[in-house]
């Protein structure tokens, strides 16, 4: 363990955990060399900062927001480059009738979450019904014989207790 004295409070390092006896809330600027709770910024490694250098400052981005142009090397003017402006790809909204707000006159609608049963009913139920009517699927008591040769048993499948067997 190594004790490092810092502004009236003792900070002991043990097993890579940093404990401090003073208040944990300190201003960002007073932390040296930079506030380790946040990622490093270009201003944290400026030449005037402890441990900073011009090379490190230039390696990091200047702004959080990406620039949309370039500075002319000789004249210094800022040239706007349209290709650097982000382009949002949104779906085509022609014929889309939904609007940002809902009219006060519209009735209140509540729908429950979509259950696996709803997914089954939407995707498979129709084909299963057609197959059964045509005779491709045969039900004999507890066994179900499918067209591809598989034989299923109703006992192997757990259903809802409230469901009635038709």
């Amino acid at each position: 363990m190594q004790a490092v004295r810092r502004s009236g409070s003792y900070i002991y390092r043990c097993h890579k955990r940093l404990l401090t006896t003073s208040s944990a809330v300190q201003a960002r600027r007073s932390r040296e060399p930079w506030d380790k709770r946040f990622p490093v910024r270009a201003e944290d490694v400026a030449p005037d900062k402890k441990g900073g250098s011009k090379e490190m400052e230039e390696a990091l981005p200047e702004d959080i927001v990406a620039p949309t142009g370039i500075h002319h090397r000789l004249t210094g003017e800022y040239i706007h480059v349209p290709e650097m402006v982000p382009e949002f790809v949104v779906p085509d909204l022609t014929g889309f009738e939904l609007k940002p707000y809902v009219s006060y006159r519209a009735k209140e609608i509540t729908q429950g979450p979509i259950t696996p049963k709803d997914v089954f009913n939407s995707v498979y139920a129709e084909t299963v019904e057609d197959d059964y009517r045509r005779g491709t699927i045969k039900v004999e008591g507890e066994t179900i014989k499918l067209s591809d040769g598989r034989v299923l048993n109703t006992k192997d499948f757990v259903g809802d207790k409230d469901e009635e067997v038709q």
Partner: protein, 242 residues
């Protein structure tokens, strides 16, 4: 998809936000984040909480002197548009319609009754005009609902009718005291639904009730790939985490 509470409670959130801004200070510190300090209990009054007058009545140091009897939400009986009889005050015995309700103070205002009169814009040449402002009445003791059969004050109870609807029933005759149209057609932000004029930014009921989504037995990403014709034959490498 269920309409979330966030969407439905926009007005409630707006009111709470305005109250929080005017009854304390929000302070930001790193890691702790935003905290509300120097909080004060909001004093509800005749002015709505987002108005300047209400915020002025809630400056630091102001206190509510009276004690408010707590009435649970389920036991609240007086609504906008109800016909009531005033039991106490200068207009004792008179009947009128309820125009405003302030639940936090157990107040109700009856249209044109229990008013205070004041001469405004008085000058040497003219007497000005007489302003008539309704004074609040306590819902518990000073006002009573009427029995529809004889239009006399009666005690009411919340009961369930044959259809399972929760209704107010007169204790004396057993007749249902119906809610007025004004109360039933009022939205949470006090907008009259029937009088509302639909705008270009409003989704109409016809569009709202259309069901255009069909559930598919594939994930969202697979659905997008399927609709755009993207085919992915590569298999994901095994991922182990313990």
């Amino acid at each position: 998809m269920r309409l979330t509470l966030v969407a439905l409670g926009y007005f409630k959130k707006y009111v709470q936000r305005e109250i929080a801004k005017a009854s304390g200070v929000s302070v930001y510190t790193p890691i702790q984040g935003w905290r509300h300090v120097r909080k004060r209990d909001w004093i509800y009054g005749e002015n709505r909480p987002w108005t300047d007058a209400a915020k002025e009545a809630n400056l630091p140091g102001k206190r509510l002197r009276e004690v408010i009897e707590p009435i649970p939400e389920s036991e609240w009986k007086i609504f906008k548009g109800d016909r009531v009889q005033i039991l106490k005050g200068i207009d004792k015995g008179k009947q009128g319609l309820v125009c405003t309700i302030i639940k936090e103070r157990n107040w109700c205002y009856v249209e044109g009754l229990n008013c205070s009169y004041k001469w405004v814009n008085k000058s040497a040449s003219s007497p000005g005009f007489l302003s008539k402002v309704e004074k609040p009445l306590l819902v518990t003791t000073e006002v009573s609902l009427l029995d529809p059969s004889d239009l006399q004050p009666t005690e009411t109870e919340w009961r369930y009718d044959e259809d399972g609807q929760r209704v107010r029933v007169s204790a004396r005759s057993g007749r249902v005291v119906p809610l007025s149209d004004r109360a039933l057609n009022e939205a949470e932000d006090m907008v009259d639904k029937n009088a509302y004029v639909e705008q270009s930014w409003d989704t109409k009921e016809k569009e709202l009730t259309k069901v255009t989504f069909t559930p598919k037995a594939m994930s969202f990403e697979e659905d997008i790939m399927d609709s755009m014709g993207i085919k992915e034959d590569r298999e994901r490498a095994p991922n182990y985490y313990y």
